[in-house]
């Protein structure tokens, strides 16, 4: 287990800056998620930490030691790739054993560790199969097995679940969370899916266009987004934003209100509008109301609410839960 620190790290590809100078401290045993839209630099940042890309400037410290110039294998990190990157010509056993073989460990140790990993990941029955004979979820487990046998000082996950179907993704997410609790290892996890970020992270780093927008625990980000970008990115359905007169009434350039802080009524309220879409999820109903002059406002209502497209409804925001932002998109103190 190790701490990881980035000091003034930046990265440019042929003069185009993809990571602007950035500082980040990741504590031992912490699970940190890098989240952001595609192209925000989150994978590049992970690859800089892994050593698969060289930093353009700055330092990468692992447990306080400068690792900036170390080749990937010497950093003691393990990585799980989005494509799993299993060795297709090797069996599951050989795949998991590969890092140990490269570290020139003796045969008995290799065998014991591979069997241990297989037990933890429920892969015992598949050890002699080739990757092509496995399902997506099993391949993912093999990739994780290959990562854990080395007993790395930290795990790096690069969008590990995005090639899996929705149901499997939820399962694997829970398995990764359980594995993290069990091993207690420092973990950096990259995803574009804010639900994965919210459910897994001790801390989330929200990236946008190569810059850190905000760092904080999932609930901090949710409750007190520091920027307009974070406010819109974290939370589903996304926060409603209002500008113009409604925002200046609250002394801001933009105000935001989450769907769960908007109440609906058939008889009275702040604004009147027509239902443009009602999404019935069973547990909740997300109602999108078209308000003249303001745009569409989403509201979260109980699952048994019976509303239909075209109905007229009143919407009322809970003003104590408003988020206010200035012209630059920075949050204003409440």
């Amino acid at each position: 287990m190790a701490s990881i620190a980035l000091k003034n790290v930046s990265k440019s590809f042929g003069g185009r800056e993809v990571i602007a100078s950035l500082d980040l401290q990741i504590e031992r045993g912490e699970l940190v998620v890098f989240v952001g839209p595609s192209g925000c630099g989150k994978s590049t940042l992970l690859r800089l930490i892994a050593g698969l890309e060289d930093v353009s400037s700055g330092e990468v410290l692992i447990d306080g030691r400068d690792a900036t110039m170390l080749p990937p294998a010497w950093r003691g990190l393990s990585m799980v790739f989005q494509s799993y990157a299993l060795y297709p010509h090797m069996t599951v056993r050989e795949n998991i054993a590969f890092p140990l073989k490269m570290a020139k460990r003796d045969k008995e140790t290799i065998q014991r560790k591979v069997n241990d990993a297989a037990r933890v990941l429920n892969l015992q029955d598949y050890l002699d199969r080739k990757p092509r004979e496995l399902s997506g979820g099993q391949r993912q487990r093999v990739a994780i097995g290959r990562a854990i046998v080395r007993e790395p000082v930290a795990f790096l996950f690069d969008e590990p679940l995005s090639n899996l179907d929705a149901a499997l993704r939820v399962n694997m997410r829970m398995e990764i969370a359980a594995l993290h609790r069990q091993l207690g290892a420092t973990t950096i996890y990259v995803t574009h899916d804010q639900i994965e970020a919210m459910t897994l992270a001790d801390r989330i780093v929200v990236l946008n266009a190569g810059r850190v927008e905000q760092i904080g625990s999932p609930l901090e980000l949710y409750r007190r987004p520091a920027t307009l970008f974070v406010a819109g990115f974290i939370g589903s359905p996304r926060m409603n934003f209002l500008d113009g007169a409604e925002a200046s009434r609250h002394g801001a350039a933009t105000v935001g209100i989450r769907p769960e802080h908007v109440s609906l009524s058939a008889s009275d309220g702040r604004w009147q509008g027509k239902v443009s879409l009602a999404e019935h999820l069973g547990s909740d109903t997300f109602v999108h109301v078209e308000v003249a002059g303001l745009g569409t406002i989403a509201a979260r209502a109980p699952g048994d609410l019976d509303v239909r497209h075209g109905e007229t409804l009143w919407v009322t925001p809970d003003e104590s839960c408003l988020h206010r932002f200035d012209e630059q998109g920075r949050a204003l103190a409440a």
Binding site: A50, P72, F98, P99
Partner: protein, 276 residues
């Protein structure tokens, strides 16, 4: 209607394919037939197709008059040797270009290929003099070197295409797992590229086997491969078509058998990059 048109189309394609195959195969068939004719029948006008006096005397005479086995051994050593040495050079070359490309990689590849566009005869004199100086004239080592060099661009190109198909992630995973460049090549890259390497090897054995310019010009008696063996049948007194055909048949038979046995591998190898 549509089905009738489909059927007609299928017939047409089959017919054209057979026509082409026969046209390509005809010279080989004719050589084979001629090798069983007498010298008189071989040059008879009009040509005799199947109805002639079949004889095997050409083969007995060719066998008696020459040392087929020595030429055959030379061919095997030169073709297989130059292909194996070529692989040793081409694998690292193609590997570095496929996985650590620079701005000039494309240019280097094209430059390598462009050397194949140079007529070999253009460099015959310098090569001949170099070989003479180095004592490589009429040696199998010399032929292995020159054939290896002349086929190297094709080997590098083929391997480059195969290596390009290997996902980058897998190589990065190997680097994370602690594989050095050498072990990455040994444990990951080579096994994954093995089908491609095998077809490269096969194709180059065939190319080197059939190569006649260098083998004829740089050898005399002792190290001539089968190409030199065939050429020795064009005597100053004229061509003995029947014996020449028998010699040709003997020379191409081993490579035809090899090609036949490995056709699956060859076709797979040659279409590897195309169908994925």
């Amino acid at each position: 209607m549509a089905r009738a048109a489909d059927d007609r189309h299928k017939w047409l394609v089959t017919l054209v394919a057979w026509g082409l195959a026969l046209a390509i195969f005809f010279p080989i068939l004719w050589t084979l037939l001629t090798s069983f004719k007498t010298e008189a029948a071989a040059v008879a006008i009009p040509p005799q197709f199947l109805f002639f006096d079949w004889t095997t005397e050409n083969y007995t005479e060719v066998w008696a008059r020459t040392d087929y086995l020595r030429h055959f051994t030379n061919s095997v050593i030169i073709a297989v040797g130059s292909s194996l040495v070529g692989l040793l050079v081409a694998i690292p070359a193609a590997w570095s270009m496929a996985f650590s490309p620079t701005r000039r990689t494309r240019g280097v590849l094209l430059w390598m290929l462009s050397t194949k566009m140079l007529p070999a005869v253009g460099v015959l004199v310098p090569i001949y003099l170099l070989f003479k100086r180095a004592g490589l004239l009429d040696t199998r080592t010399g032929l292995v070197i020159v054939l290896m060099l002349s086929n190297l661009p094709i080997m590098v190109w083929m391997l480059f295409t195969y290596f390009k198909e290997i996902p980058r992630d897998i190589l990065e995973a190997a680097r994370m797992d602690g594989a050095t460049a050498g072990r990455e090549l040994l444990h990951i890259l080579t096994p994954m590229a093995l089908p491609g390497i095998a077809s490269t090897l096969l194709l180059n054995v065939i190319l080197a086997w059939n190569e006649s310019f260098w083998t004829l010009n740089l050898t005399a008696a002792s190290t001539g491969p089968l190409t030199a063996f065939i050429a020795s049948f064009s005597a100053p007194e004229g061509l003995f078509y029947a014996k020449l055909s028998a010699a040709s048949t003997l020379a191409i038979a081993p490579i035809v058998v090899l090609g036949w046995l490995s056709q699956k591998q060859l076709v797979r190898g040659l279409t590897f990059g195309a169908v994925k």
